[in-house]
Amino acid sequence: MIVGEIVAERTFHLTRDSLVRYAGASGDFNAIHYRDDIAESVGLPGVLAHGMLTMGLAVQPVVDWLDNRGIVLGYGVRFTRPVVVDPTDGATVTVVAKVAALNETETRIDLTVTCADATVLGKAQVRVSLV
């Protein structure tokens, strides 16, 4: 493993169903994540994916890559741009996970998370310990 190496890549397709499923699983029932009229009334470009859904799926390629070989020590993101989920076409989110730093105790994996060619999470970093 070397710095700059891509360790995982995955594309996720989100639909309104995905948002309803995440609302139920997480307990975040903010209506901007399923009602167009409410999203519009607060000035949003449309119904948005929960930031925590984007964060939650973005780490999955790293979890799968890690498998039983280690644990996640830390994970953080900045929510820089919303993911607008069209009622018919949904939204496609792409994650690329790259080795950013290595030392004896931990490895830092940086995530590039994009939707419609725009980055949606900033400073998305996962610290892992490989055993």
Partner: protein
């Protein structure tokens, strides 16, 4: 929910440093872990299959890395409900989120979260609140700390 308020009060700077009472214990259920794992597109057998999880040394299915948000939610509700806080939740935007883990959460864990407001900053009329939820298990041992930065927009 109140939309389009005529006036707003600023976030109370005295919230900084405030520590809230611990939440009621949250018992992590196996089906809840599976439900959450499906919702975040998880595919690892560790999240779904107790035998796979036991083979890997865990007592039961392992929760995905962002699962602590389910436990943290009760603490953020405490913060937003604080009578002197001045936080209008219709103006709150999630700015940043972080997790720092001692170990993964597994089904069967009984977790208690304690919220502390670590910082309040004002930037261009917006307030940025950083709140840290320390999550411990039934023995009191640290499991994970979840840190949220909430942006409270000043615009009407």
């Amino acid at each position: 929910m109140t939309l389009g308020r005529l006036m707003s009060v600023p976030v109370n700077p005295e919230l900084q440093g405030r520590v809230f009472p611990p939440t009621a214990p949250y018992l992590v259920g196996r089906e809840k872990v599976r439900e959450f794992a499906r919702a975040v597109f998880a595919t690892s057998p560790l999240n779904f299959d107790p035998d796979a999880a036991r083979d890997a040394g865990y007592d039961d299915v392992v929760a995905p890395p962002t699962f602590p948000v389910v436990v943290q939610e009760a603490t953020l509700a405490q913060l937003l409900a604080e009578p002197d806080g001045g936080i209008d939740f219709t103006r709150v935007v999630h700015g940043e989120q972080g997790f720092s883990y001692t170990r993964p959460i597994v089904a069967g864990d009984e977790l208690v979260a304690t919220l502390a407001v670590t910082s309040i900053k004002t930037l261009g009329g917006n307030s940025m609140i950083t709140a840290e939820s320390t999550i411990v298990d039934a023995s009191g041992a640290h499991v994970v700390t979840a840190t949220s930065t909430l942006v409270v927009r000043a615009d009407a």
